[in-house]
Symmetry: C2
Subunit: 565 residues, 2 copies
């Protein structure tokens, strides 16, 4: 008797599990049901379809050879019986059947299985405020709403769009709509970013004309003639003829929970490393499950298309009797904003502290190619480290070169995934080197070294926002500011602020070090933080206590703070 495999849900994980299983099991009966019209589409591409980079929604539905991935495609080419518009209502684990309903006709029937895969995905979280049911309030949870928004863009029906939420999809949709000439406001705290990078992300969006509203609570969506017209926060009302809700998703785990399968109290089906639920004949994955956080050991909910694809293959292998494992995740992510690309993996310093680590975060700026090589860029790196063990718990990066910042993040993520890298490991991380690719001391090695110096107390580093605060409060705190950059950059500021700000290029340091007052606290700054660190050591040896602005003016500039001096 051929094995009878039933898969519920056909976007990413379901189709991948189905096709992998088919390739290793020529004789199995493989059926995939989905409640929607579209299956196997690239949902992550929606913002690029709305923004215009992907010219047609067809592009999100086709293979690399431009063939639509619809029911006929799976039926004929993949040998998978795909049935759309069919919703699973309940699972009878004893009888090994699933009660399903045709969502068009309401007709119900049962489907039997030997092995079942639950790939029910996630649904958008809708905030509990009035007005979310108004017209033109949308959660982009599939191709239909994306197409509707794109049509409105094309018809120039949207003038003011408000995005609720600053998750990655929210940011991508904000940029996409701004590209279509729409006035965009994004409301949220950019809390996916480490604190120093959140301001850089804000600046990058603002440079594109996007308004970023943080620290406000949305209390109501107001309507006119049934359509949204305003987003009201606790501090202001913002005109809006389109509101996109992007405050996160939650797993569709009810079908599993109702069948008595173990689910996490906060939501999400529990699976073992073979992606099996508490019933070994039922697998689950993708946006419907929680996985193990390989750093904290806790469970983590990571709804990501890439995760779903990888887990889908693991399930497909295991359906075929192989022993494929998915150990867990470190939570790698990346996002393209306006001109900047950001990426990260592992824990933020807040998450690390909550997980019980004695964690610090250290940021730095460094060149991503040899500094003499043309077109090198300056990348921002943030490492999160446990002070006691020097274990690296997280990384974030931000750069105008996406692949370059991805390379550094992926390398650290790769080590966090397979081991417990320390600062020494990252200091010696053997990344590929030649001048068109990296500096001889790569920025990721340098980031580990900076962090090592900070933790060991050799480098008294403060964050750029702390530096700006010191500057703005200088009338009260008596801080004296010393700029280690060449005179061309530092002298004009000194001239604007005599007695408060000294231009002292590193090359002139030894000759002019007597100009630094010994009776005031000193705040240092240079271009990237490196040369001010050298000055800091010299001043420390002179008995002067200093702080150094992490990332120097490169970081200040990315934050839009450079003009404050």
């Amino acid at each position: 008797m051929p094995l009878n495999i039933l898969i519920i849900g056909g976007v990413a994980l379901g189709t991948k599990a189905a096709t992998r299983a088919r390739r290793i099991m020529p004789d199995a009966n493989i059926t995939l049901i989905d409640q929607g019209t579209y299956i196997s589409y690239g949902g992550c591409g929606i913002p690029y379809f709305v923004g215009g980079e992907v010219s047609s929604v067809r592009g999100l539905r086709t293979t690399g050879a431009n063939v639509i991935r619809d029911e006929a495609f799976f039926d004929d080419l993949k040998g998978v019986k795909a049935i759309c518009h069919t919703r699973a209502l309940s699972i009878d684990r004893k009888a090994k059947t699933v009660l399903v309903e045709n969502v068009k006709t309401g007709e119900q029937s049962t489907m039997s299985y030997d092995k079942l895969v639950i790939a029910t995905g996630a649904r958008p979280i809708i905030p509990a405020i009035p007005g979310t049911d108004l017209k033109n309030v949308t959660a982009i949870n599939g191709l239909e709403p994306a197409m509707a928004i794109e049509e409105q863009c094309a018809a120039r029906q949207i003038k003011n769009a408000v995005i609720l939420g600053t998750g990655f999809i929210g940011l991508e949709m904000g940029v996409a709509l701004a590209k279509r000439g729409i006035k965009v406001t994004v409301i949220g705290n950019l809390s996916r970013f480490c604190r120093p990078f959140a301001q850089m992300a804000r600046k990058d969006l603002e440079d594109f004309g996007i308004t970023v509203v943080s620290g406000e609570k949305v209390v109501e969506l107001k309507g006119q003639d049934g359509a949204v017209c305003q987003v009201v926060t606790d501090k202001q009302a913002i005109d809006a003829d389109q509101v996109i809700i992007s405050v996160g998703v939650k797993p569709n785990d009810k079908l599993a929970a109702d069948a008595g399968l173990l689910c996490h109290p906060k939501g999400g089906i529990m699976v073992n490393s073979h992606m099996q639920t508490s019933d070994p004949d039922i697998y689950a994955g993708g946006d419907a499950v929680v996985v193990r956080n390989l750093i904290s050991g806790d469970f983590i909910y990571l709804p990501l298309g890439s995760m779903a694809n990888r887990q889908g293959r693991v399930i497909g292998c295991n359906l075929g009797g192989q022993q494929s494992v998915f150990e867990g995740a470190v939570g790698s992510w990346c996002v393209k904003m306006n001109k900047m690309y950001a990426s990260g993996a592992g824990l933020t310093v807040q998450q690390a502290k909550e997980a019980g680590f004695d964690a610090v975060e250290v940021t730095m700026e460094g060149v991503d190619k040899a500094h003499f090589y043309p077109n090198h860029g300056v990348a921002s790196i943030c490492l999160v480290v446990d002070k006691q063990t020097r274990r690296v718990l997280g990384i974030q990066g931000m750069s105008a070169d996406g692949s370059s910042i991805k390379a550094r993040t992926d390398a650290v993520a790769a080590q966090m995934q397979i081991g417990k890298p320390t600062l020494n490991d990252i200091s010696n991380l053997e990344v590929c080197y030649s001048p068109p690719f990296a500096g001889a001391m790569d920025v990721i090695n340098a980031a580990a070294n900076v962090t090592d110096n900070v933790i060991s107390g050799l480098h008294d580093s403060i964050s750029p926002d702390e530096f700006v605060k010191l500057w703005e409060d200088r009338a009260n705190n008596n801080y004296y500011f010393v700029d280690i950059r060449p005179a061309k950059s530092s002298k004009p500021i000194e001239e604007r602020h005599p007695g408060e700000y000294l231009s002292l290029p590193l090359e002139e340091f030894n000759a002019r070090k007597g100009e630094v007052p010994t009776d005031r606290p000193v705040a240092l700054v240079c271009n990237t933080g490196t040369r001010a660190y050298e000055a800091q050591i010299k001043l420390r040896n002179m008995g002067i206590k200093t702080v150094n602005s992490a990332g120097g003016f490169q970081a200040l500039k990315k934050r839009g703070d450079d003009t404050k001096f």
Copy 2:
């Protein structure tokens, strides 16, 4: 008494060790000697200076703030007494002194040390053939010969240059000279690349007008009026008014060996994981030492500027009493050629077999961003894997996007450095994903999956050169060729070769599968190898044995073989 530190050699490792030691030891006496005129220069940038990307040699000698790194710079700014034109002749380990000679005056003196660092680097290997002492035969072993070549380029004195050796510097110098309008011939076997990629590298160089001569042995350099005029191989004579010798370097370990320090029989000072020689008061690193190969466990000689910088910091830390370690290396590398960038880490299949592994190499082609995202590229990946344990032993990549191929290589290298990743680990490698950065199933995950399928026998893959051989020998071997690409690409070939070559797009496969002969062996090809793999499984289920050309026409095109069909 302050610690007395003496460092012999001041290019990469020496200066890094010195400055790190200074920062953590304000009171130590740190002296650095070097036999040359220039110290702390970016030697890896020489090809980019010769090629014109770096406009002046000054660029290779300055800091990011455009300050020359000379003796005065180290003296004044870094607190390191730097002395050029001073060669170390011998070490008296009992007396803890070094006999040195001023290379300009011949004057000798002794310098004492508490801790000594040997950073003597490497020297070029000069082949044992007649004529290497002729004028205009150069080994680029420092800034002086680089400047001389650049001057000759500027004065248009070079018409025909021959590079002996296809190591990375040889390739980079070949491209650099071709950029200057010089006719360039490179002689060597491109053996740094895995076999399938060597032909891609050759094609890329040839597209730039560079002649690549392989499989020939250089027997003599012929001269006229004392200057080189011809390179003579066992098969031809090539006109040359400039010859660059780039067949590798060997460690300058004589000073250490003469002092009784343990050296490897094949050359290179032996060090422990603290970078200490067999005398704990003497450290060594950079191009002068061998390190542990973290994959094979053997010793390996890896002369690389990045390695030297990282080791330099380890030594600097340890001089200051810290416990910094350098465990070894996996041999990451990268090189920019004409339009293509290549990178790699770990063992080639030959090296793996020599190290006792039951190794295979599998190549594939895959998109490096979401296939619907504009400007995605197709990357070539090669994995070397132990068949028994599925441990990943090596990776190579080739792509027109340098940072993108670096990202994939660095991630695998990072895991090989800290653990023993298997195919399952790389299949689940959690690289950052969103459409502008990667595909939902990243090309590196896909590479692991392809390799898994090949090893498990699900995918009968042959290399592109094997496929081309089958095609060229089709009159004898009776192979039938089936092209799974869309008709637009495959039909024209079928029309040129009726009865031998069938255009059978995957979409039409099920309807037309009867056209595939069952009495002949079948060779499959598609665009990247993926769809022909699907066809292969279907044909296998029909009882037909097939082989599939790895990487499809994408690989054939990168090799220049696509026009043979």
